[in-house]
Amino acid sequence: MTSHQFIVASPPTDAISALKFSPDPNSARIVVSSWDKNVYLYDLRDENGKIGEGKLLQKFEHRAPVLDVCFGENENEIYTAGLDWDVRKIDLNTSEQTVLSSHEAGVRHVLYSREHNIIISASWDSTLHIHLPDAGANPDSLPIIVPLPSKPFSISATATKLVVAMASRALHIYDLKALALLTAQADSTAPGGNRVEVEPWQRRESSLKFMTRAVACMPDDAGYASSSIEGRVAVEWFDPSPESQARKYAFKCHRQTAEDGVDVVYPVNALAFHPIFGTFASGGGDGVVALWDGLSKRRIRQYQKYQNSVSAVAFSASGQHLAIAVSPGFEDGHDEVPEGTVKIYVRELGETEAKGKGAK
């Protein structure tokens, strides 16, 4: 409520599907993917290096709405995924686009694992594709295809693990090292032999009763948070020991009591962990962004409601900024997107604004 907030200039014209900060802590670049088939690259700094409303640097048009985007090894390359079934790599310096692989349905998510130098995409064809960054340039380099029991809805990775949240409340945790090894081996195998059944490190059932909307892993590799369409967030730990599992919990959020006393429950569309403090932000269909301390089970703060559904949230690598993508909610059946309703807000966080308070 008290921190500075600005609206990024020239936002997308249709709903935002994803928003990511550059991995470089000194950079203030963000990439945004949108249903208007474009991926936008912004730099929030002006000529004097001051972070403000920023400017649109580049725009990359796709053949279909883009559902996800992520930065690659550095802030000069990004990967995109979308409804045209393709996973692309875009070199920001040359604007060169390379298709890494094609799924058999829309691709919901793409992420880059810095530690293992692989790109993982998750598609509604119920597969993960795992690529090496040079896959596009090298025709022999094929992605390995990991079949999933259900459609993946959200993925997130730590340094060692990949969490895939799927339909039917299924959740798989993969060991990234194993996936990386398999991908390296698949390179040399013959085409067609790249479909690999990988046993996940852990199979779990979601702790939430309803469809998983988002997962986000803790930066310290200890666990993850997941959210559902039914205004709830669960926090769990990877460690399979009973003590650690006993620590898991879930809480209600992003709800409003209507005038007739009915609790209106919004989906929790987005989760993002703070890279330094380990707290996390949730963004809901109610247009509210809240910061939570997952360890002390406290809400740190809740920001003033935005006019529309929050579709994505992201912390900068330095942890000093929080970007919030606001788009008219497609979850409530309103599919038209009036002009001027899609906005990207960037909050400058106070030094301790996102810091957990610790148990009192």
Binding site: M1, F60, R301
Partner: protein, 417 residues
């Protein structure tokens, strides 16, 4: 039997301190103030809690170089920082009035619901219907005055023989006012047990306990009571109430220690109870065994029981309390049950979030198989035909540098398919 607590009265509700920012009400002004400090005037950047929004604003600008734009955790229309609120101070008059109106209407609604749930008439305090009967208590001066009159009449009657104007009912009515309460049981008992007796017989001989009270007032009195008896001689319960209710209101209703609402809200089935005078708010006075005996007998008779044994003096308080409880217990149950039904509603309306055990929920998105994105992807404007021919791509996209890249990448990947 202590007074049963049944919901606060409207005045109590209106008097409760409440928070301007979130409309919550509190037991105590101190709690309200600490609530406001913790919820609405807390600094987000440090542990400081300020007393007012203005204080927080100054603190934020001086310490944290920030601007306070709204009061946190406040209702949407109360977020303003320009209103200076401290506890109940500073609430604008119109808001205060609106709040009071809402509390009153909630109270009335709760009262109505309660009536629906219990079938009880409203309490006298709340609204119309059957107003509770207030016991008619004569002030002591009146009692003394009447005693004096009575004594005068007695003297007159004694002097002039059994005069016609001294009716038994008036005699009975006035006796208990004499202040010698200890005698009234015997009077009652005498009346009860002297009926079958020959009128001329000395009452003292009839019932043993009468002999204990050789009060001259009494002994001279009983024949008077006897005068009435020929008419009332049939030993029917209906004959009994006539002297008693007439006499009872004059007595302090000691034995009716039941809480007022017992009388004020009798369930319909207990109509016979209605005939009884109601208890005042006076505490129970166990010292007088006398009226309790009366009440005891009364109740039993009213309930169709056999009249009590003449061991009036032997009746203990506990004994007398028992039937009262017996009668009132179902009422209590009903009322407390009804209260249980009502209380969550009443409280629920004021603070809906906390009290609702299982609130009705309405999910904005409720499809467990298709995610919102999948649904959205079905819209025709987002439809993508997976025809990867370059023509399609060209047709869809305006000619720019990006299109070139797509074509190139497509040709690269095509062999792999």
């Amino acid at each position: 039997m202590g007074k049963k607590r049944r919901g606060p009265s409207l005045e109590e509700l209106l008097d409760r301190p409440w928070c301007y920012y979130c409309e919550r009400d509190f037991d105590d002004l101190k709690i309200l103030i600490s609530h406001q400090k913790a919820k609405h005037f807390k600094c987000d950047n440090c542990p400081r809690r300020l007393n007012t929004a203005g204080g927080l604003s100054v603190h934020l600008s001086q310490v944290h170089k920030e601007q306070l734009t709204q009061v946190q955790n406040a209702l949407p229309n109360r977020m303003g920082v320009d209103v200076e609120i401290f506890g109940m101070e500073g609430i604008p008059a119109d808001v205060l009035k609106a709040h009071q109106q809402r509390v009153a209407s909630q109270f009335q609604q709760a009262e109505l619901d309660r009536q629906h749930a219990t079938g009880n008439p409203p309490t006298g305090a709340s609204s119309g219907g059957q107003p509770a009967k207030k016991p008619k208590l004569e002030p002591v001066s009146d009692l003394k005055k009447r005693l004096a009159e009575h004594k005068a009449r007695r003297a007159e009657a004694l002097a002039g023989g059994s005069s016609g104007d001294v009716t038994p009912s008036s005699a009975v009515q006035s006796t208990p006012t004499s202040g010698v309460y200890a005698q009234s049981p015997q009077i009652a008992a005498a009346q009860q047990y002297s009926y079958p007796q020959p009128y001329g017989g000395p009452p003292a001989a009839v019932t043993p306990h009468l002999s204990q009270t050789g009060s001259p007032v009494y002994s001279s009195y009983s024949p008077v009571g006897g005068q009435q008896l020929p008419g009332a001689s049939p030993y029917t319960p209906s004959g009994y109430p006539s002297p008693f209710p007439a006499g009872l209101p004059a007595q302090p209703p000691v034995s009716y220690g039941a809480p007022p609402y017992t009388q004020q809200q009798p369930p319909p089935s207990d109509n016979r109870f209605m005939g009884l005078p109601t208890a005042s708010n006076l505490p129970q006075r166990p010292a007088f065994g006398v009226p309790s005996v009366n009440a005891h007998g009364m109740q039993k008779m009213h309930m169709g029981h056999v009249p009590p044994t003449p061991a009036a003096s032997g009746h203990s308080n506990g004994d007398s309390a028992q039937p009262t409880e017996h009668v009132s217990t179902p009422v209590d149950n009903q009322i407390s049950g009804a209260a249980n039904d009502i209380v969550p509603q009443a409280e629920g309306s004021s603070k809906p979030k906390k009290e609702k055990t299982k609130p009705a929920i309405r999910m904005i998105y409720n499809d467990d198989t298709f995610s919102p994105e999948e649904k959205k992807a079905q819209l025709s404007r987002y439809a993508y035909v997976p025809d990867q021919s370059t023509q399609t791509a060209l047709g869809e996209l305006p000619g720019n540098a990006v299109v070139g890249a797509i074509q190139e990448s497509d040709t690269v990947i095509d062999p792999a398919h």
